[in-house]
């Protein structure tokens, strides 16, 4: 069970971390100053939450593991984030759609985890959910603005939806580690979140005049370390300093 709990905490922490890392790269390059600031806030929240999850994971792992050894000294196959969050920022339409898909899922996950029988998990979820509530509102607002904005913004945003949709299936499919924990009341059964997530998206997309894609084969693998080709580059950059000066303290 401890191994499963460790894996599960990595799933939660790695997804927050990698999405935070992607957003951090946008800082100073956003479409408007206010946007830059708001997006940095989301990145700050996500990386902050990642620290909670990874610190807890490190305690379970024991030894000299800590949030930083987990973040900086695992190679891509040991990362457990969902594929969605490692996709490139692309244009702002892609950034926002990726964010919206994740935020709404993230909210439902944390909402359920507040009832976790693991009180440490429940506490982290309770601390995080207010931040994520704001993320949901913000990315949803932008999906509507971009979807129902100009012809160009509509086209770009629909293209982002069509491109990123294939990474949403994984959000609702449990890994083996997760399944074991669901039975113990520790983890949420993500399959049960699909209907509310989809209903939320449907309402939002209607307002945004965007179309939800039809059924199609989904890309999975992140939760057991089979990523897309992007993650290796993200980590090479993120980990370079820690890897290059082994044992140094920063």
């Amino acid at each position: 069970m401890e191994e499963a709990r460790y894996e599960y905490l990595l799933q939660l922490g790695d997804s927050d971390l990698i999405l935070g890392q992607r957003l951090a790269a946008l800082c100073g390059h956003g479409p408007a100053l206010e946007e830059d600031i708001a997006m940095s806030n989301v990145a700050l929240d996500l990386i902050g939450q990642a620290r909670f999850w990874l610190s807890y994971a490190a305690e379970i792992k024991g030894g000299d593991a800590d949030e930083d050894t987990l973040a900086f000294l695992r190679d891509a196959p040991a990362y457990r984030n969902v594929l969605l969050v490692e996709q490139p920022n692309g244009d702002y339409g892609h950034t926002i759609v990726r964010q919206c898909f994740y935020d709404v899922w993230h909210f439902f996950v944390l909402q359920a985890l507040m009832q976790s029988t693991d009180t440490r998990i429940a506490d982290i979820a309770a601390k995080s959910i207010k931040e994520v509530q704001y993320h949901v509102e913000r990315s949803g607002d932008w999906v509507v603005r971009l979807g129902d904005g100009t012809e160009e913004s509509h086209r770009r945003t629909q293209a982002a939806v069509d491109k990123l949709w294939r990474y949403t299936g994984e959000l609702f499919r449990s890994s083996e580690a997760e399944q074991a924990l669901v039975e113990a009341g520790i983890a949420v059964d993500v399959a049960t979140l699909y209907e509310p997530w989809r209903a939320h998206m449907q309402a939002l997309f209607e307002e945004a005049t965007l179309e939800l894609p039809g059924d199609q084969p989904m890309q999975c693998g992140g939760k057991h370390g089979e990523h897309t080709e992007h993650l290796g580059y993200v980590l090479a950059e993120m980990q370079h300093l820690q890897r290059s000066y082994p044992g140094a303290r920063w």
């Binding site: 971390l17 890392q21 951090a24 790269a25 800082c27 100073g28 390059h29 956003g30 479409p31 408007a32 100053l33 206010e34 946007e35 830059d36 600031i37 940095s40 806030n41 990145a43 700050l44 990386i47 902050g48 990642a50 620290r51 990874l54 949030e67 930083d68 973040a71 900086f72 244009d91 702002y92 509507v144 603005r145 971009l146 129902d148 904005g149 100009t150 160009e152 913004s153 770009r156 950059e237 993120m238 370079h240 300093l241 820690q242 000066y245 044992g247 140094a248 303290r249 920063w250």
Partner: protein, 312 residues
């Protein structure tokens, strides 16, 4: 002119000038130029540090740096707002930045090559900026003075964070100490030049001082900066790359060598190591974000029309 005399009298009495007050055109123009230049510096200043956001060595350092870069965007916002109270539009000011017409602080045209540079920027660049800015908290134009109070508070926090980065390096491995010394070697002289050219070569200083937009001369600020910074370098165990630097018992100040003013003017004219990259990054962000801003505007116009239609 009698109006100008009255205006000067108010300033001399220490009365703050507020947006709706009458003011000489030249005062207004000088302020707009200076405040917008300051705002641009905050915005462009995000870039050199932003260069290490994806590579910060710990999660905590990454968060601190991200929060800092975000603060800089916030400073840009207050400052653009302060300039707007003088009738300048943010769009115009940004257009002047992107066209190269408006300047920003030359220090941001230097590259950040190692993690130690992030420490050096916090310690030296923010340190020099604070020295320049603290007097502005008492400047004659109310909105600028008030914006600066907020900016300075955050900057001094940033300066401590930068110092802390270097302190960690200086108590670390030999490689880390070398990294810190190398960063000091590269950032020292550019930071010393942040106070502007020598008083003898500085234009407009007299008028600005009379208007209490500027309260100290460049050379006064530079001396203050050096006097403050040398003991900090000693504390870190780092060597300031100036062979002429030494304590002068008589004056109670440090004597120091002459910066390379040719380099200063070259960078100002656009020939620094990163001038092209910095401006291009801002142009790319502006142009790449055009469709997003247009979409937001289009949607804002649609929304009330929809509501009306729904209500009808």
């Amino acid at each position: 002119a009698p109006d100008e005399a009255a205006f000067q009298a108010r300033i001399d009495e220490g009365i703050k000038i507020e947006p709706k007050d009458e003011m000489p055109d030249a005062y207004r123009k000088t302020l707009v130029r200076q405040i917008s230049q300051h705002a641009h510096s905050e915005i462009v200043g995000q870039l050199p540090e932003g260069n290490w956001l994806t590579r910060a060595p710990t999660l905590e350092r990454k968060l601190i740096l991200l929060a800092k870069v975000q603060d800089e965007a916030g400073h840009g916002l207050y400052l653009y707002s302060a300039a707007e109270t003088l009738g300048a539009s943010r769009d115009d000011m940004q257009a002047d930045l992107l066209s190269g017409k408006a300047k920003y602080s030359s220090i941001f045209n230097y590259p950040t090559l190692t993690w130690a540079d992030i420490g050096a920027i916090g310690w030296l660049v923010d340190g020099a900026a604070i020295i320049n800015q603290i007097p502005i908290c008492r400047c004659s134009y109310g909105p600028y003075a008030r914006a600066m109070v907020r900016v300075c508070k955050e900057e001094s926090f940033h300066q401590r964070q930068g110092f802390d980065i270097l302190h960690k390096l200086c108590t670390g491995t030999q490689e880390q100490k070398d990294m810190a010394q190398d960063a000091l070697n590269r950032w020292w002289w550019p930071s010393v030049m942040m106070h502007g050219p020598r008083d003898a070569d500085s234009v407009n200083t007299a008028q600005s001082m009379q208007w209490k937009i500027k309260l100290f001369t460049n050379d006064e600020l530079r001396q203050k900066y050096i006097d403050q910074t040398v003991p900090q370098a000693d504390f870190l165990g780092l060597t300031i790359p100036d062979p002429d630097l030494k304590w002068n018992e008589e004056t109670g100040h440090y004597d120091f060598g002459e910066p390379d003013w040719d380099e200063f003017w070259n960078v100002l004219k656009g020939y620094g190591p990163c001038n092209q990259e910095r401006l291009q990054a801002r142009i790319d962000a502006h142009e790449g974000g055009a469709w997003v801003r247009e979409a937001a505007a289009a949607h804002a116009e649609k929304r009330p029309r929809r509501r009306e239609a729904a209500a009808a």
